[in-house]
């Protein structure tokens, strides 16, 4: 059985609890064991390093060291957590280990570099396999047109992420196809949702959000799906502001990656927490 040290990240405990539910259910259905890292902390959310880079390194070295103690690879479900953990790992593997380990050792921990850090999407493709996933699909999402929206931090910067070609990735489209749905091309598929500047640059952020949703609609999509709960929050929770910013009329549901997979595995929308979305997902599911 596949087993991972699960790093849920703060958002899955808060605003995106439905993503926690969906992740757990999907893992269960696929026979993947997720052991939540005991005592994990916030990764710093791509802001901590601007205030205190050393603190960001320290907390993420600890997060990874906890997984190493469990003897398991780290599994993440948020783009930004993935970036923060992998960035710390990159630094640790390139000289920062000596700086951090004396401090970790006082807590009975050590960073050695044995636990890789991978996102759920990468794990499904590389470790689990899409062919195997296809066999588990109970309700193929036939006829559903899905705009696969990557978000930034699962692709960039490429020297830290590096799972696939950052300029023309296809993991998300491959997965959408494996679930029986149809991936639609749309202009904004690699653009930024603006989440991380929502406080400092609100107008630009809402324009970015609105543009992505509009682009997905123009591509003919029934919904967007994203591997990042922060992007999902932005596309869903701020959809009304986004629409106003670009003078758009129509709504488009924004799904977490694991919710889309969950639907294909036979879970109901309610079981996957879709009632918690701001934009109604009902239209998407009518007749399914």
């Amino acid at each position: 059985m596949m087993k991972y040290a699960f790093f849920p990240g703060c958002v899955l405990e808060g605003a995106s609890q439905e993503a926690y539910t969906a992740t757990t259910k999907v893992a269960q259905a696929l026979g993947i064991e997720l052991v939540e890292i005991p005592g994990w902390t916030c990764c710093g959310g791509s802001h901590l390093q601007d205030y205190d880079k050393t603190a960001a390194l320290a907390v993420n070295a600890r997060n990874i060291a906890l997984a190493e103690k469990m003897g398991l690879p780290v599994l993440t479900v948020c783009n930004t957590c993935t970036l923060m953990l992998r960035e710390a790992k990159h630094e640790l593997d390139n000289g920062a280990k000596e700086l951090v380990n004396p401090a970790l050792q006082q807590a009975g921990l050590e960073y050695t570099g044995t636990s890789p850090v991978a996102h759920f999407l990468w794990m499904l493709i590389k470790d689990y396999g899409l062919d195997k996933l296809k066999k588990k699909v109970k309700k193929p999402l036939k006829g559903m047109k899905v705009a696969g929206y990557y978000g930034c931090h699962i692709l960039r910067p490429p020297h830290i992420m590096g799972f696939e070609d950052h300029a023309n990735p296809h993991s998300l489209e491959d997965l959408i196809r494996a679930l029986g749905a149809e991936p639609v091309p749309f202009d904004a598929r690699l653009k930024c949702c603006g989440f991380h500047s929502v406080f400092t640059s609100k107008e630009d952020t809402m324009k970015a959000t609105g543009t992505i949703n509009l682009s997905a609609l123009e591509g003919g999509a029934d919904c967007t799906v994203t591997p990042c709960p922060l992007c999902q929050m932005q596309l869903d929770m701020y959809q009304p502001e986004g629409k106003r910013a670009v003078n758009a009329k129509d709504d488009i549901p924004a799904l977490h990656l694991t919710q889309l997979i969950g639907l294909a595995l036979g879970y109901t929308a309610e079981e996957l927490g879709m009632k918690r979305h701001i934009v109604n997902t009902g239209i998407l599911l009518a007749g399914r």
Binding site: C10, V11, E13, G14, A15, S16, Q17, G39, W40, T41, C42, G44, G45, H47, L48, Q49, D50, Y51, D52, T54, A55, L57, A58, V59, A61, R62, L83, L99, A103, Q106, A107, C152, L155, R156, P157, P158, H159, D165, A167, N168, K191, C192, G194, H196, S197, F199, T200, S201, E203, D204, T205, K207, A208, M237, P240, E241, K275, R276, H277, I278
Partner: protein, 343 residues
């Protein structure tokens, strides 16, 4: 014969259109080869800029299928493979004023670059006699950023600039600013830092496009992060961006996890956050914001987390002091350098 089609964005000063050109495929060529080939054999009216052909002058940046790249060092075959197509779309850089076809105007960019004073303002202790020396460690801090060739790839794909360029500068401008802020010989970091903050350093969206697109391996997004940290160190802390970033550290030290519910209040203050009430109610109605979670319990290892942060910061401080001592030995002619002392 395999044919390659190029759909090229044309602009004559007034109207724009897409023009198609077809070339016979030749292996081992570059995007710039294709542009030159088109101009020389098919259409002399096509305008683009290029000079060194060695990724040094930065003149030939264009967008290939929506991604900025240096035409001279981008293999044509790599692009055909990446896009699984024998048709490529070539466009001018985004976020620039367009002159003709693929030629963009650098004049306004040079003015924007000057806002952050990209030249050395040497410390007063330097003079003709003693020179303007720098230790290898200090040189390392600025070496990478000195490689910027002003090609504009970062600016073209910057999500923030595309949104609005009036309160932000091009990523390469911030990279250049950081190059001088980090220069041990420069006397005026605060002036540059405050200009960087006033020109939107806290507005970067963290999209990492600039890092992904730089052909010389610079990391403008990281430079912006360094400028932010340096600005804080120099006391430039009155900004919502600072309060936002600080909230992450405070929450980690307090409970280990982020307190989303209080983030708006911590970043914008109570008064400004009142404007967010309709948004908060929207979230509450769906259970996305739970008032009961406003005061979360700390993880049980939180003391350990605080101790680790503190200890790592202490050892970093010790390391920096050791580096500074070595630098001083190198730059101060009165102190014997280890090598000379050994003689």
């Amino acid at each position: 014969m395999r044919k390659i089609t190029f759909k090229i964005h044309r602009f004559d000063g007034q109207k724009s259109w897409i023009q198609e050109y077809t070339l016979d495929h030749q292996p081992g060529k570059t995007i710039l080869w294709a542009l030159i080939q088109i101009k020389e054999t098919l259409d002399p009216s096509l305008n683009f800029t290029a000079s060194c052909r060695h990724a040094i002058c930065g003149a030939c940046a264009v967008r290939v299928n929506g991604q900025a790249t240096l035409a001279c060092e981008t293999p044509l075959d790599k692009m055909l493979k990446r896009w699984e197509s024998d048709t490529l779309i070539l466009e001018p850089l985004q976020n620039f004023k367009l002159i003709r076809d693929l030629v963009v105007d650098w004049e306004p960019k040079a003015e924007r670059l000057a806002e952050l004073k990209p030249w050395l303002m040497p410390k007063d202790e330097f003079n003709k006699e003693s020179g303007c020396r720098q230790s290898p460690e200090d040189f390392k801090k600025i070496n990478k950023n000195s490689d910027c060739i002003l090609c504009g790839c970062c600016a073209s794909e910057c999500n923030k600039l595309s949104g609005n360029n009036s309160d932000f500068l091009e990523p390469f401008v911030f990279a250049k600013a950081q190059r001088f802020v980090a220069d041990s010989r420069d006397k005026n970091p605060v002036e540059r830092l405050s200009a960087a903050i006033n020109h939107g350093a806290w507005k970067c969206q963290h999209c990492q496009e600039c890092v992904a697109k730089c052909p010389k391996g610079l990391s403008p997004a990281e430079d912006i992060s360094n400028l932010r940290q340096e600005a804080i160190a120099k006391g430039l802390v009155e900004h919502s961006g600072v309060r936002h970033a600080k909230a992450f550290l405070d929450d980690i030290k307090k409970t280990g996890r982020l307190n989303e519910g209080m983030m708006a209040v911590k970043t914008d203050g109570l008064v400004k956050s009142i404007g967010n009430i309709p948004f908060a109610l929207r979230l509450m109605s769906k259970g996305k914001l739970n008032p009961a979670h406003m005061f979360p319990k700390p993880i049980k290892e939180v003391a350990e987390v605080r101790a680790i942060i503190l200890a790592v910061k202490e050892s970093e401080k010790a390391r920096n002091i050791a580096i500074a001592k070595r630098s001083e030995a190198h730059t101060n002619p009165d102190v014997q350098r280890p090598k000379e002392a050994a003689k």
